[in-house]
């Protein structure tokens, strides 16, 4: 498995509920164990460091109370050395011959060696003249650096010593014996402390005496506080180590001192646990540090903490095992619930039989799941029903739209079947003709027609099929065709309607019929014949007069009774006369109160502009109807035809 695969598997693993439930328990238990250990460790170390304070007080008191007097005594003892004649003599440094010089050196050396041999605490004695030249002795070297350039002391140390005020003793160092000697034979004292003071004498002038102490003076002092686990360090003011018990020098005095008296346990350079205590003496301002190994204590602490950890681990293990068992059952119940939810999610809303759980929340969840299942089932049923209904509606809508499209198509076909070009006969000035049909939303059965049967005979037709829709339209088309055909064959209006009636009745399975007003006008004379088969009464305006409805007996509507008989009615138009025919959509147009437009309003509308052209008359009537109906939907075709006879 690739790394990515492993990582993904681990991520997946961490996402598992089991681990996420178990992990906090383990973490919490580990935290508790750690906390216990930490508390124990802190308490124990506090107790230990407190206990160590007792040893500190003994050690610090013993050492500090001894070091200073010891040093002071040593300083006092050697203060008078410069009064020694040989030393004073050499300090003057005025010799005329080599033997004098060497003898003076030997005498001086012997005097000094004798002096510090009698003070076993004194490591050596050096003297620096004001010019920086140095002489004196230490165990491994007799130094007579009469040339200041040969003074082996570090420059800073020389400056410190040369600046010491009269009557004051300063401490400098530590400096290694090797640095003073100028060589290292492998057996040199690493830290020599120097007490220096200014000495002025009339005989030898100004000189700076230096008493050297090596760490051996501390050996006895530190015997008493030895406890086998402590390392004592003595640091100069600049934290340079002067002395220490044990084998190794302190690699990091700053750390040791800064951690002292804090009660903190820290690690030394070898990683071993330590704590440290310190005190700084007054004069010299050396710092005494006790470094205590906590290794023994840490072993105890380690043992106890390990025990706590082991015990805690066992308890944790037991808890985990028990918790695992419980978790197994929990997870089984949870999985059961989860499966129920999954099944529910998969659409299985059948009631689920859950194992009874000791966890009340699970029981509640189980109840809620089943309740949700029922509610969800009901909801799903509602949704399905609504979906069905919506589908049906959409189907119906689509059907309606299809029908509407078909009706529109039919209307267009119907409209195209009607003559719509006006002026219809531009080369015939004997008459002015205009017609319009405003269909209702449904395909209607109204139609009009006009055509020249011959050059002197003009046929005018307006009809209204009894029904609406496609069948009515088809019926209208048939009627219109039949009527035109009959008229074109030379029939008079009544004959044409009669023949058309027979043919329509024979094929009229839908039981539809059509009302027709049909007229044939002899253009040259203005005479004509009309036949009204159950249609609205035409309006006639004689030249100079007003429109009036011509009410007379109508014939049987066409398509109703096969044996019906139709009679012509003759008429004569004079120039200026105007005939206006219409379908029932005009008088039966309703307003918001279902009040009909009526014939009276029709005649009134026609008579408002009696001299208007047929087109204007039709528009006037239409506007009147629209004003009357306002927003009330038009439910029937409004078809109008108007002829103004002009004459030859």
């Amino acid at each position: 498995m690739s790394h990515n695969g492993i990582a993904a598997a681990l991520r997946q693993r961490f996402k598992s509920l089991r681990l996420r439930i178990l992990l906090p328990v383990i973490i919490m238990a580990a935290l508790v164990i750690t906390l216990l250990n930490t508390l124990y460790y802190r308490a124990f170390t506090l107790m230990i460091t407190q206990r160590e304070q007792d040893m500190n007080s003994v050690g610090f008191d013993t050492i500090s109370n001894s070091v200073v007097p010891l040093i002071n005594a040593s300083v006092s003892e050697v203060r008078g050395i410069l009064s020694d004649s040989w030393v004073a003599s050499y300090a003057r440094h005025q010799y005329s011959s080599d033997p004098e010089l060497v003898n003076a050196r030997i005498k001086c050396r012997d005097a000094l060696r004798s002096e510090f041999a009698s003070h076993d605490r004194v490591f050596g004695l050096l003297f620096m003249r004001a010019d920086g030249s140095l002489f004196g002795t230490i165990p491994k070297a007799n130094i007579f650096a009469d040339d200041p350039e040969q003074n082996p002391l570090p420059k800073k140390m020389k400056e410190q010593i040369l600046s010491v005020p009269l009557g004051q003793t300063i401490w400098v160092g530590p400096v290694s014996e090797a640095d003073i000697c100028g060589f290292d034979d492998g057996d040199m004292s690493p830290s020599i402390m120097i007490a220096a003071w200014k000495s002025v004498n009339a005989s030898y002038g100004e000189c700076y005496a230096m008493m050297l102490l090596d760490d051996s003076i501390f050996d006895d002092l530190f015997v008493a506080p030895q406890d086998g686990k402590s390392v004592w360090h003595l640091f100069a003011e600049d934290q340079t180590e002067i002395w220490h018990t044990g084998k190794d020098t302190c690699p990091d005095p700053g750390k040791l001192i800064s951690n002292s008296n804090t009660g903190k346990i820290f690690r030394d350079e070898n990683g071993l646990p330590m704590c440290s205590f310190s005190m700084t003496m007054d004069s010299p301002a050396w710092t005494l540090v006790r470094e205590v190994s906590m290794e023994g204590y840490e072993q105890i602490v380690g043992g106890v903490t390990r025990s706590i950890a082991i015990l805690g681990g066992l308890v944790l293990l037991a808890v985990v095992i028990v918790y695992q068992l419980w978790l197994k059952r929990f997870m089984r119940q949870f999985q059961s619930l989860l499966n129920g939810i999954i099944r529910m999610g998969q659409g299985d809303l059948e009631p689920v039989t859950f194992e009874p759980s000791s966890i009340e929340e699970f029981n509640q969840l189980r109840h809620e799941i089943n309740r949700t299942r029922v509610a969800l089932g009901e909801q799903m049923e509602t949704i399905r029903r609504m979906e069905r209904e919506q589908m049906e509606q959409e189907n119906a809508k689509r059907e309606q739209e299809r029908i509407a499209r078909e009706l529109e198509t039919a209307r267009q076909i119907q409209a195209s079947a009607l003559p719509q070009t006006f002026p219809a006969f531009p080369d015939r000035g004997e008459f002015d003709l205009f017609a319009s049909m405003t269909p209702a939303k449904e395909v209607g059965g109204d139609f009009y027609d006009f055509f020249l049967i011959d050059s002197d005979h003009l046929a005018l037709v307006i009809a209204d099929v009894s029904d609406k829709g496609i069948p009515a339209a088809l019926f209208m088309m048939s009627s219109k065709t039949l009527i035109r055909n009959e008229l074109m064959s030379g029939c008079d209006p009544a004959t044409a309607l009669q023949r058309a009636n027979v043919q329509l009745c024979e094929r009229n399975t839908s039981k539809m019929f059509v009302t027709v007003w049909l007229a044939v006008l002899e253009i040259s004379t203005g005479k004509g014949m009309a036949c009204n088969a159950g249609h609205e009464n035409p309006a006639l305006r004689r030249a100079g007069g007003e429109f009036e409805l011509l009410e007379y007996r109508h014939n049987m509507f066409v398509g109703g009774i096969k044996r019906a008989r139709y009679q012509n009615r003759e008429f004569e138009l004079r120039p200026g006369d105007c005939v206006f025919v219409y379908t029932d959509g005009v008088p039966e147009a309703i307003d918001a109160t279902d009040d009909m437009f009526g014939e009276e309003r029709l005649v009134d509308a026609l008579n408002q502009h009696v001299d208007a052209s047929p087109e204007e008359l039709i528009r006037t009537v239409h506007e009147a109807v629209d004003r009357f109906a306002r927003d009330t939907p038009q439910f029937d075709d409004i078809t109008m035809l108007c002829l103004r006879f002009i004459g030859a």
Binding site: S97, D98, P99, V102, N103, R105, I106, R109, P139, K140, A141, N142, F144, C181, G182, F183, D185
Partner: protein
Amino acid sequence: MKRFLSIVLAALLILPLTCSVALAEEERPVLTIGDVTDRSDRRIDGEDQLGLWQYLEDQLGVEIDFVYLTPEAYASGLASGNLPDIVATNNNLSTILDNGVALNADPYLEEYAPNFLEGDARLAYDVFKQLLNEEDGFYFFPQKIGYNGVGYSNEPSNRGYVVRWDYYKELGYPPINNEDDYLEVLRQMHEKHPYTEDGYPTYLFGSNNFAGYATAFRSELSLDYWAAYKYQNNIFTNEVFDGYTDAAHSMWWTSMAWYNRLYRAGKADGSFDMEILTQTDAQFDAKCARGQYMGLTNGKSSLYEEKVKTDPDTLTGYGLVPSPATNLYTNVYQLLGNGSRYMWFISANTQHKEAALGLINYMCDPRFVREAIMGQQGVTWDYDANGVPQMTKYGQEQFDEYAAGDAPKDNYYAQWGTYAELSANWPVLRDNMTHPDGYPLDFLTITREHAASTMTNNISLDMCEHYKVELPSDAHYQVGGLDFRNDCGEAISSCISSLNRDQLHILEDAEDILDDNRVDLILAKSDKEFNAIRDKTIKKLNDLGEPEVFRAYQQKWDAAAAVVVPLVQKVQAANGIEPYTPEQYERNL
């Protein structure tokens, strides 16, 4: 069933036998040996001697326990008499006698330690009986009687004209036959190298403070300083003379003259190290280690040892120029062992007198000493068809491993005893004494071949190449260098009792007189000034009465010499050591 019964019966028979063996083991007497010497190489309780001491225990039928006696424990033992059965001491013998803690072994030697009354050990017995007033008894057994060193030195430094060898080679190895030659060589070396490679100033000659004033490069002087104080003996005549006032023979006075020459030669250009008059040994050693001196009283190895760490082919170091003035510290016959300082005595309160004397008897037996040094015959060595002792293959391998250093614990010689060192400190006889088979007890390392094959020092190798010899000692011998073959001074001096207190006080004053005049002598501006100071000093010594003290010492010396010299000469003759001839004596004067 029969088999079972036979096993039970056998067990019943074996059990008492085993118990008796165990009891016998437990009944072995425990012989305690205490060592008061503080020299680590003479400690006797080293774990690496287990094999040898186990062998001894089995041979003697004892158990041996070692005890290191601290000075406090030893002092307490001297006072109370509660001491180990055998004590190895280097303390004042008269104190032991005065406290009566030593067993008078004289009545038992013949019975329990007959070897001590034979051969070289017998000489020590005779000397003790005659010179140490032991007529009424015999109390002390010396360690390591015999010749100290052999003339096969493969190391570069010894006593004579010591020079910085790399500079000496640079000069073309000019011969040095006397002090004039030596001073000229030192001067030329300094002229070429006023500073060391590390920038330190160089000087003609170095010495370590007052103790080192004794020049060691004049054989007629340096060969004979075994006498106490500033008295000196002549290795040719075995006479003693007064080093305080006999300026013609005195090493001290000769030294003063030499250093005065150095001062006058080097004062002007600073090549005389004024600090040698005041410096400490450590300061002197540091200068030697830096190579600041062109010449030294004694060779120092520190310079070479440091340089060879970084340059395996270095010749930087001090070497001894072959010359008639050279003396080689070899062939010194020590009649009373290690300078009479290391003795054994048996505690007067011992409950294991026989066992203690039995141990001494083994230590005097050359056959055992051979085994103590070389290991067991048949294991690490054996005789070839011609009766010549040879190392076995195993023995040679073990020795090579041991000699290479860091030998493992299971190395034969690490177990048996540190080869020819620790174990050889114990036997009464030295390892270069002769075995009854006619070959040295240590027939391996006491050979020229061994010395040549183990020579690794570049200076030694260079010396051999230049002088066309096999060993550096050959170069010294061939130009007249001497060894101690004829000297009885050490043996005589070890047999002389101390001067009395008044005489010692006079000598202390005499030392002060010399010390007081030392600087003036060395820093004298002329021979005239030097001689004047010398005469004045000798007059003071004469006025002090020093010559009377010398005469008293001379009487003791002559008495001891009368006993020792014939004995030593007898041993020398027995060992084929030819004494120096009068001609050689004349030449070296």
